[in-house]
């Protein structure tokens, strides 16, 4: 059973637009929700993360919105750039020792 559900599987956005990727989880014991970014030929790398006691976290053009009651969280990329084209994974962590990943979203930003 998929612990973290992610959508959409792929996303095409115009340069300057907003990219939105959504994730949902079931286990309320999860205590950390990171997003990873993966470029072709590279391993995933941590992009931004949030704890469940915070509703929003922003780092530059990247924002996580977190809805604890709905058990959903999303990544927003403002002013999307071609260099943002990558695969994005949401994840949930349990006490920093167990990690569960979404199925990934392939983002393409067209000039």
């Amino acid at each position: 059973q998929q612990q973290v559900k992610q959508s959409p599987q792929s996303l095409i956005v115009q340069k300057g637009g907003i990219s939105i990727i959504n994730c949902a989880y079931e286990n309320t014991a999860f205590d950390y929700f990171p997003w990873y970014q993966q470029f072709p030929g590279k391993g995933p790398a941590l992009l931004i993360a949030i704890r469940p006691d915070v509703s929003e976290k922003k780092e530059g053009r990247f924002t996580i919105s977190f809805n604890k009651s709905a058990k959903q969280f999303s990544l927003h990329i403002m002013d999307s750039q071609p260099g943002d084209s990558a695969t994005y994974f949401c994840a949930a962590s349990l006490s920093g020792n167990q990690f569960y990943f979404g199925t990934g979203t392939s983002l393409t930003v067209i000039p």
């Binding site: 205590d31 990171p34 391993g43 941590l46 994974f89 006490s95 920093g96 020792n97 979404g102």
Partner: protein
């Protein structure tokens, strides 16, 4: 910077061969993980280890085994490779209780 190094970027093997995928990390991390990545399925955990000589099964351990003789090295073993094990394999490491995993660049394995 944390570095997780996977010994091979690309491997081509024959069905039935025994395959070793090696992973080394240089940050003294106790936790190490092996995932496989397939389109539409995301990252699926094969095995993980919280300490030397310790291993735990993940979500899809069938057909795989692991070895951790030294803290910095975690090996994934395909005892008898099959075509359905063609995939991208990712190794990761982390400190206990710390919510960040560091990934290697991956090994793309093709089993013919």
């Amino acid at each position: 910077d944390v570095k997780v190094t996977q010994s091979s970027r690309y491997l081509v093997k024959r069905t039935g061969e025994k395959v070793f995928l090696e992973c080394v990390q240089d940050m003294d991390h106790e936790n190490m993980f092996w995932y496989r990545q397939d389109p539409g399925l995301g990252l699926r955990l094969i095995y993980f280890s919280y300490d030397v000589k310790m291993k735990e099964k993940g979500d899809i351990p069938e057909g795989y085994s692991v070895s951790r003789e030294k803290k910095e090295r975690f090996s994934l073993i395909l005892e008898s490779a099959s075509t359905n094990q063609t995939s991208m394999y990712l190794c990761a490491s982390s400190l206990p209780g710390v919510n960040i995993q560091y990934f290697g660049a991956g090994t793309r394995l093709s089993v013919l």
